[in-house]
Symmetry: C2
Subunit: 335 residues, 2 copies
């Protein structure tokens, strides 16, 4: 049987109101009553209901998190880092996996509102008009993590996608590659799609490399899509000698495709990824990648959100973290 507040009152020989005042930490409760109540709580193993306290204090200690794909190593690592910091600050996470299901996302945003979450973290940027409208309407602090939606009024924690992509492409150019294939993301996504594509294009142009239409493809960031686009790149008469995929998952798909075609990475084709997910170290050859500081991204996301929740003035604009090229085995100089 669940111990109730009236059981505590009876056991302590005081009124329910007194117990409630002790639980809510109100002043002007006599010390001996306080002691009696606390003893009764201990002895009965009473746990005050968080939901009852939420009503009184208007604090739920809940944060809603919308993850596009829990099975992706990139997102699950950010989530793990967010969870660590939430827990350290006594916040609990309501986790939702939406797998590109807009209806599920709408439903969850409504649930977040009903549950009175104090803040919302969103890890994808494909925000349609209905969702954009809903987020503004529910008026709860929102932060986008690792992505930046088109609506500039939302805060994001991101890397400089344009520059990161520029630097990745430039590294391959410096290795002597003349033809560099590109497996990009959806151009509807401002961050990962458009900015990474522009970075690639401009790095090529600035270094006098010709952009070849058939070397440029757009996937969905997942392993399978990297595999299929690499297959197309291998089917053209003179495939590029290096390929830059804008997610580690797509880069891994590309590496697997190259290997399944009896070619070698990096001897025949160099492959560069983007993200710095755990996969980079788990595969062979290990994957050279333009890394986002994933752990730090999770921490920074919670940091900004907690400031928003506490009503602190936060610096306007986005938090932009440093990207970093990590050289491993999958790229080599063109011979």
């Amino acid at each position: 049987m669940q111990v109730k507040i009236k059981d505590v009152a009876k056991h302590a020989g005081v009124s329910v109101t007194t117990v409630s005042r002790v639980l809510n930490g109100e002043r002007y409760v006599k010390d001996d009553l306080k002691a009696k109540v606390n003893d009764a709580i201990q002895e009965l193993g009473y746990a005050p209901s968080q939901i009852a306290r939420s009503l009184v204090r208007n604090k739920t200690n809940l944060i809603g998190v919308i993850v596009p794909d829990l099975t992706s190593s990139f997102y699950s690592t950010i989530l793990s880092s967010i969870e660590d910091m939430a827990s350290a600050n006594d916040y609990n996470l309501l986790v939702c996996n939406i797998s590109e299901n807009i209806d599920k996302e709408l439903k969850y945003l409504n649930v977040f509102q009903e549950m009175r979450v104090e803040g919302i973290i969103i890890m994808h940027e494909k925000i349609n008009e209905e969702i954009r409208h809903l987020i503004h309407k529910i008026n709860i602090p929102v932060i986008f993590s690792s992505v930046k939606p088109l609506d500039q009024s939302f805060a994001s924690v991101i890397v400089d996608d344009y520059q990161a992509s520029y630097d990745a492409t430039k590294y391959l150019i410096e290795l002597g590659h003349e033809t560099i294939g590109f497996i990009g993301g959806d151009l509807q996504d401002i961050t990962s799609g458009q900015n990474r594509y522009s970075g690639y294009r401009n790095a090529m142009a600035d270094n006098g490399k010709t952009l070849v239409d058939e070397h440029i493809r757009f996937g969905d960031y997942k392993v399978r899509s990297g595999y299929l686009h690499m297959k197309e790149l291998l089917s053209i008469e003179r495939p590029p000698t290096a390929v830059f995929a804008v997610s580690d998952d797509m880069a891994l798909g590309a590496m697997n495709c190259i290997r399944d075609h009896q070619l070698r990475v990096p001897e025949d084709i160099s492959v560069m990824g983007f993200d710095g997910s755990l996969l980079t170290e788990l595969v062979r050859p290990t994957l050279t990648s333009m890394e986002q500081p994933i752990q730090e991204m999770g921490r920074a996301t919670m940091d900004v959100l907690l400031k928003q929740i506490s009503g602190k003035k936060i610096p306007t604009g986005d938090v932009v973290l440093e990207h970093r090229l990590v050289i491993r085995e999958s790229c080599q100089p063109r011979i």
Copy 2:
């Protein structure tokens, strides 16, 4: 500004009590009043507070989930499947990542109680006395997913670990391997540790193979541990020609170690995994593995828990799902 129940009442021209009765779906509210209230709710965009309704109905629609490691592909895939089924049944998940931190687990179990979660899912089996006691005390339906703790009073959704391990070992024996290395789990874990080890031992003995002490090692299920134990196996004078690791992560670590020592999988050493995680298809060579039906495990976990929550009589004992050997590239007949 958050729209409150009294705003709805004012807008509809009715009392707060009437709005509340409509919200709680009580009978005997006149149709025209009902219509007025519903119109006001629509027009003002009022979202009833889930926490207020929870108090009335004693239903929170919350399930607490304790995950040992969110960044592991095995756990994040089960979690993803649990989340799908929870969402379809209008339940929301409070997700906690404990990374072997007992204090964090204790704290979360208390939070679950305070939040009045309706059920708890736990995905690890290292339950110490304090935690065991707490779980019994808080008296909320609990199910263990993919693991089985020593305390037989808890329900689990699992595979037959003994038989699965026996079958995996037997397959390697049938491929002609005389010496089969074993990278097991912690023997403190009844399911994955003890039962998988017994399965290996008995399959070897039943088929007249000698158990060699230095071929038998115990890791922690993670990639790095598989790598380090494989390194030890390679350092002995005549390493085994096949290795069975009781998690795909450890098997991948073993494969990477073999490759880093300029040996080939499966030509020099065959490697067999356990779990059927996404990794099996992502790595090269693809990993032969004794698979647990991960998606089904998530669904079955929620299925049993929802039955427990609704107070339905559930079959006593564990739900045991079928294991399945999936042959890929990492094992070959001994030459």
